[in-house]
Symmetry: C3
Subunit: 311 residues, 3 copies
């Protein structure tokens, strides 16, 4: 080992310069006594929720109707505690950011109590969420000739993974939880290539096949029985700014998709006023910036291709 | 900690409602004494197979010709046992699903023996698979000016990762193993963005550059020396249904690509009757629904773009 | 367990055939006494660098200005040692590959000393890198109406993850380190779907939204305040070959993007001579093979779509 001690002696000075930069340029460090939610803890919660939603597929094997109640009861109890802690952190952080309060100040709301209340409200939605997800699994089977059985869909379909995490994140988003729903959606995005903002509203029997590159914006409204393929963007056309030149972050910027619509690979549908009428089909690679009435088929014109012999 | 005990006392009731939902809506839980294959175990098998296929790159370092036989022998022995167990589970599960049998019933075939037989048949293909993969690595080097050397390709190229896992999964698919080949392909898809169905037939010297968004359908046939770029879809045009309105799951729905074809980024080739003749080139973003003869170049017509000055 | 011993007795022979293949087809194994860099070690280094760049978000919680110096000092010290080792391995491997030397030969340069020198040079760039990344975070906030605050961007934005890892890898690339920059870029690609070659030059205030499918080639030059959306390719048009038919690996093959350019989803810009002038906008799904002057808007012509009623 050829370590040059003089080189290594430069490290304390470098450490000081790094720490100085924490004081100089703000906004990309979080130093203080008030912890943020933990990405790893949020992922652990999502994995245990999946274990409850699809028992027997993920972690614990040899579950049967005689022992599953203990397994689920144990998970629910643990999820209650962990959700309470993480939701409280997210709520406290958001409050502080918006009101400029320090972490230990007296007049802060009781975020632990608020977190627990919202954790229980969320857990309460699991049975209904399972009913919706069962319809999503069935829609995948009905929509893909390559699917062998329902088990294959639960094990292997990234579209089901993405909608499962979205339904969890959307419930938390509806309960007013900041930050954590986006952590969940980005965790799903990272593993599936499917980017669904937790604000999007999506009906039952939803199926995304293959999925890589799909983007569904925050203000999308999607009715039931909609099928998307890889690379579909349901996006914004342009962004409104207020009189100070800041982005307006609340308008409906993303399209509305009515029921029984199919959108093929790499199609792009943009704009908050765009409505795709029910039972319509949007062909592969179509770019659409306007509404279409129900029962419409939109395809690329006989594509303008040039064919020639290689020399 | 502000835990409200009364709120927490609602959890046992919630647990009961969740467990009730396992009885109510079937198909998205697996409760019973007959375990499914484990996704984690299948991933562990794939990682050890990669260690054998590309020794010295992955886990164990300081391998040399004097000690590698012990390392490989140990891995092969362990893979034999784990493959036997997982293949047996997949075969048993598939048999039960198709015949409606319970797990312990007497007249079931000996799935352990069947699993072992297929595990050994699979392991037997490793030397030949290495020869094919060596050609794939070379094709990547010959096809990408940014590749520094072969090591960089083995370490860093998602296209090689995807075709490696595909060649493993396709062998298992050919041996009639259900479910596990799709677990493998989805594991690769999750990490590379490349979605190759294990049913697809792919010749040697195959190279996918960048790869995110590539989809290759179950009934594709791809000859040797084919190169694809990111976002290429080799997909189905439409799905046949039988007289009961169910999807027909066996027809050839995806294209045939002859040898020495290059397909550039985001091109889409659809349909089971579509044949891309050898030595043809399909340009970026082309959508093609028909066959082309050998030595054809297909490009977008001088694209219909509108240029204007920003106001 | 129904293990058939005779079947299992075939395994030693199979092991021998596998090891024989290591001698037969070269290039896809690394056997010898000279270890390669470890992908896992490189990922560990990247994770600790992120902990220094964005303290308080990743691993350690409850950091404050009173204790952060110890945490950072400890990480810097450990990073020095690990970087030295991995950089030395990469440099030694590259030297051997280019000069055909064995690992222990006397006349080899002192790669440990060289690795340490470059490790310290790299660590020295962290404060400046933090300044650039703070501008990237701000650009994401200014460019996306769905962003709630800067914390959400640091936790959840794959575009920030990709540019963070790119800025690390690009510094190492500028220091002449082989292999490791590509390991880093592929690690980011795997988790974000964004594939930026470490050779690309990218100015500050860079933002990629959603990001899946983005490809930025090795010889791209991107000025400051550029915004890209998912699926954008900045790629090569064709590859030059030398008189022996080998690819030329050094020419500028990828476009130049001037400042304040926005390129929307799934647009493709190709060619080393292509320059997108400053303040230009390239619309979604546009394919562009030629330069455009500053302040130009390029859109698809009113797309040639066919609308019809479903029968």
């Amino acid at each position: 080992m050829a370590t040059d001690i003089r080189l290594k002696e430069r490290l304390p000075d470098l450490t000081d310069r790094i720490v100085d930069s924490y004081q100089e340029c703000c906004g990309i460090h979080h130093l203080g006594h008030c912890p943020l939610p933990s990405f790893d803890a949020v992922v652990g919660i999502a994995q245990d929720l999946k274990e409850i939603l699809y028992p027997g597929y993920q972690k614990r094997q040899n579950l049967h109707m005689g022992n599953v109640v203990y397994h689920v009861g144990d998970l629910v109890d643990s999820l209650h505690d962990r959700l309470t802690q993480q939701l409280a952190r997210a709520l406290r952080h958001d409050f502080r950011r918006r009101h400029g309060k320090e972490c230990g100040e007296n007049e802060l709301p009781d975020f632990e109590a608020l977190g627990q209340e919202k954790a229980v409200s969320f857990l309460d939605t699991i049975p209904q969420m399972r009913r919706t997800l069962a319809l999503d699994v069935q829609a995948a089977f009905d929509g893909d000739p390559a699917a062998g059985d329902l088990d294959e869909i639960i094990f292997c379909y990234p579209g089901l993974e993405a909608i499962t995490i979205h339904r969890i994140g959307h419930e938390l988003h509806q309960l007013g939880i900041p930050l954590i729903p986006r952590m969940l959606s980005e965790w799903a995005h990272s593993r599936t290539g499917i980017d669904i903002h937790p604000g999007a509203t999506i009906g039952h029997s939803f199926f995304i096949d293959h999925g890589t590159g799909v983007v569904i914006g925050a203000t999308c409204e999607i009715a039931e029985h909609v099928k998307l393929y890889q690379g579909v963007t349901l996006g914004a056309r342009s962004f409104a700014k207020d009189e100070s030149g800041n982005l307006v972050r609340t308008t409906k910027r993303h399209p509305t998709i009515e029921s029984h619509v199919v959108i093929y690979a790499n199609a792009t549908v943009l704009g908050g006023d765009t409505i795709i009428g029910s039972h319509s089909t949007i062909g592969a690679s179509v770019s659409l910036y306007e509404s279409v009435p129900p029962h419409t088929i939109v395809m690329l014109e006989k594509p303008s291709l040039r064919f020639r012999q290689a020399s």
